[in-house]
């Protein structure tokens, strides 16, 4: 193996991942180094000009910056990336060098698989990361900075991510306040469609929750605010109706879900407000989501039949349980990733020239032997000498046919071309029979 590697040093490709994320870098560093959508083409083009960079892709989100490279000289490429970041962002290297991680080979492959599968995310299992990576990859495709290696790597990472998502429960449980509210709402109402929502007060989290409910077709939406103008504004945003704050009690008869987030120092609704209310509602369930601190809804109200009150801590603890659950599922995801890394390694190693040529010859030889055996089996009258002659004939046929392809593979151009031809050869002659169809170990 060593010898083969040395012989192909010039052509041998390495996969390197360099980056930083929420675990290694504080937000001040991340925001300084983040690349915007407009930056990306410039980065890709500039980096591609570097002699030791054969293929490159760049992913930049609010939680991470990742460079993914295929290179012939890993250490040079790493230096080049660091220099480039320092220059492009006009930030001295020492401010971010500490935060950078560098992965080589299998580790780099594993890293990108884990990132795509959301195993490396701040909120494990969050679904956005895959979309972001796909977008970045498409951008790299537009600028043709990805070649055989990265194309394959990226497509593998998409399918790994998909498997992890469908085969483990990593994305099953709500891990944000608004998701938790929707999940709870579903447990109470079954369907959220047509459930009336009332927003008391305003606030980012409350508005997010309303938006999320509306996305699940909860409607109509009412907004009550101390200042009616602000209420009107919000109502317009959700295509709802603004009501006056003193109408709230009246509207409690109509709505099903109340999201409360006022700045009031005392409870906005107390148990006494519910006298006769449930009867007027014909006992239809009423669900309060109290995001305000100090709380708006008297927790005593939770004791009324068919009324459910969840405050911010209740929702948070619900989320924590789900986060724990996801961590548990993530372990299963890691196993799927491990299997995919091994599979990818097999393909990647196959990209070397020598194994490909050997594989090609073996394949031909195998076919030759098989066919000879078949022919000799049906020809009983052939003498030993004739047999030897036929054997030589077929051997020389194979040699002649393979001669030019072998020379071509050994001498063909550099950079991306070589991998391309090798990959093509392997596919043309189906040298990786087991690769695509082999059943992967079940997690």
């Amino acid at each position: 193996m060593e010898a083969i590697e040395r012989r192909n040093m010039i052509a041998k490709r390495y996969i390197v991942a360099i980056g930083l994320n929420h675990k290694t870098a504080p937000v001040e560093v991340r925001e300084r180094l983040a690349f915007s959508g407009e930056d990306t083409p410039k980065v890709l083009k500039a980096m591609c000009r570097d002699a030791c960079v054969d293929e490159i892709a760049l992913f930049s989100t609010c939680n991470r910056v990742e460079f993914l490279l295929a290179t012939r000289d890993a250490s040079k490429a790493v230096e080049a990336v660091k220099d480039f970041m320092a220059e492009f962002k006009s930030t001295p290297r020492q401010t971010f060098e500490q935060a950078l991680y560098v992965y080589h080979g299998d580790e780099a492959v594993r890293h990108i698989f884990r990132v795509a599968a959301s195993l490396d995310s701040m909120v494990v299992g969050e679904p956005q990361i895959l979309g972001q990576i796909k977008d970045s990859y498409l951008q790299a495709c537009d600028y043709q900075t990805c070649g055989v290696v990265l194309n394959r790597l990226m497509h593998r990472s998409f399918s790994v991510a998909k498997r992890v998502r469908t085969e483990t429960g990593i994305g099953d449980h709500a891990v944000s306040i608004s998701y938790a509210a929707v999940e709870l709402g579903r447990k109470i109402f079954g369907e959220l469609e047509g459930k009336a929502v009332l927003l008391l007060g305003a606030g980012e989290m409350a508005e997010l929750a309303v938006e999320h409910l509306a996305n699940n077709r909860a409607q109509p939406i009412f907004v009550a605010n101390r200042t009616f103008e602000r209420g009107l504004e919000l109502a317009e945003k959700f295509r709802g109706t603004a009501i006056r704050f003193d109408e709230v009690r009246e509207y409690l008869k109509r709505v099903d879900i109340v999201i409360s987030s006022t700045g009031a120092p005392k409870y906005v609704l107390v148990r006494d407000d519910f006298k006769g209310l449930m009867r007027a509602r014909k006992n239809r369930p009423l669900f309060f989501i109290d995001i305000a601190v100090p709380r708006d809804i008297d927790p005593e109200i939770n004791r009324i039949d068919n009324v459910y009150v969840y405050d911010i801590d209740d929702l948070k603890s619900a989320i924590q349980e789900n986060i724990d659950e996801r961590q548990h599922e993530a372990l299963r995801g890691e196993r799927l990733v491990d299997a995919a890394v091994i599979q990818f390694r097999r393909w990647f190693q196959g990209l070397d020239v020598v194994p490909t040529i050997v594989g090609l010859r073996d394949k031909m030889e195998e076919i030759r032997k098989k066919e000879l055996k078949k022919t000799f089996g049906s020809l009983s009258s052939v003498s030993e000498e004739d047999r030897a002659a036929i054997d030589r004939l077929t051997a020389s046929l194979v040699n002649k046919i393979l001669h030019h392809p072998t020379v071509f593979l050994k001498n063909s151009g550099y950079k991306d071309e070589k991998s391309l031809y090798i990959d093509l050869t392997r596919r043309l002659f189906n040298l990786d029979e087991s690769d695509e169809h082999e059943p992967e170990p079940k997690g």
């Binding site: 709870l184 579903r186 447990k187 109470i188 109402f189 079954g190 369907e191 009867r279 509602r281 014909k282 006992n283 239809r284 369930p285 939770n302 004791r303 039949d305 068919n306 459910y308 969840y310 209740d314 603890s317 619900a318 349980e321």
Partner: protein, 263 residues
């Protein structure tokens, strides 16, 4: 015990295990298998009952053995029909074991007894017991839905999101299932009571209602369900109170049921 009846029991047992497995592991294929097994058991059971009917010439509700078996059949039947609309998968984990219990106990009780007095064979009696059994089956399912409702409601109120919270369906679905079972069961119960009164009058002419404990208890059962249904329709009773009432109603119903076979 016939082979077919044994097969019925086997299917019910396997289906019960399947439903429990579904609750535990939350894998849909397990549910599908359990459901198919329940259908299979139900078909076998139906054939068994049909054969009994042909052999004896009366609907198999003459003694505890037959009645329990018929009750198990009716519970499964009502459940399967309601299931077509509500898809309340976890309920099978209660219904299938109940049916299993019924058929197993039935299989251990003495079989069809000696010839009965012709008076017990009348059309009215058959109608009376037959409708009551289907009604009881519906109420059993309402009771189960009520139990599940109370468990889920507790989980949501106490903010404990454990084993049951994840596995049980929404309160709305449990409540609707309870209500639907009630709507199926109540007309059956009413019809059963009416035919019972007519039948009683036939065996003891001139007296519709005898005020004996059985009849009083039967009347109370009917009243409980009548009030529950009325409150649901008129006042919009739903949720916890309705669920508790459904369970209480079923307990009284069970008492009545066994009292009838005692005397």
């Amino acid at each position: 015990m016939s082979l077919l009846f044994a097969l019925t029991i086997a299917c019910y047992i396997a289906s019960s295990l399947g439903y429990q497995g579904y609750i535990l592991f939350q894998k849909r294929p397990i549910y599908r298998v359990a459901n198919i097994l329940l259908w299979l058991g139900f078909l076998c059971h139906t054939v068994v009952m049909g054969m009994q009917y042909i052999k004896t010439g009366h609907v198999p509700v003459q003694n505890l053995h037959e009645t329990l078996s018929t009750f198990g059949w009716a519970v499964v039947g009502v459940f399967l029909v309601l299931q077509l609309k509500y898809h309340l998968m976890v309920l099978g984990a209660l219904v299938a074991p109940l049916a299993t219990l019924c058929v197993i106990i039935a299989s251990m009780l003495p079989g069809p007894p000696v010839e009965m007095a012709p008076v017990f064979r009348g059309l009215w009696l058959t109608l009376h017991v037959g409708t009551l059994i289907v009604g009881n089956a519906a109420f059993a399912i309402a009771c189960f839905a009520g139990i599940l409702y109370l468990i889920q409601e507790r989980a949501i109120k106490d903010k404990r999101r454990g084993f049951f919270f994840r596995r049980l369906p929404s309160l709305k679905l449990l409540d609707s299932m309870g209500y639907a079972s009630l709507v199926v069961g109540f007309p059956m119960l009413t019809f059963g009571v009416i035919t019972g009164v007519i039948y009683a009058q036939m065996i003891r002419p001139g007296q519709f209602w005898a005020w004996n404990p059985k009849e009083i208890l039967g009347g109370i059962t009917w009243l409980v369900y009548a009030v529950l249904l009325h409150e649901r329709l008129a006042v919009g009773w739903q949720g916890r109170r309705a669920a508790i009432m459904t369970i209480v109603g079923f307990v009284i119903l069970l008492l009545t049921f066994f009292l009838f076979f005692q005397g």
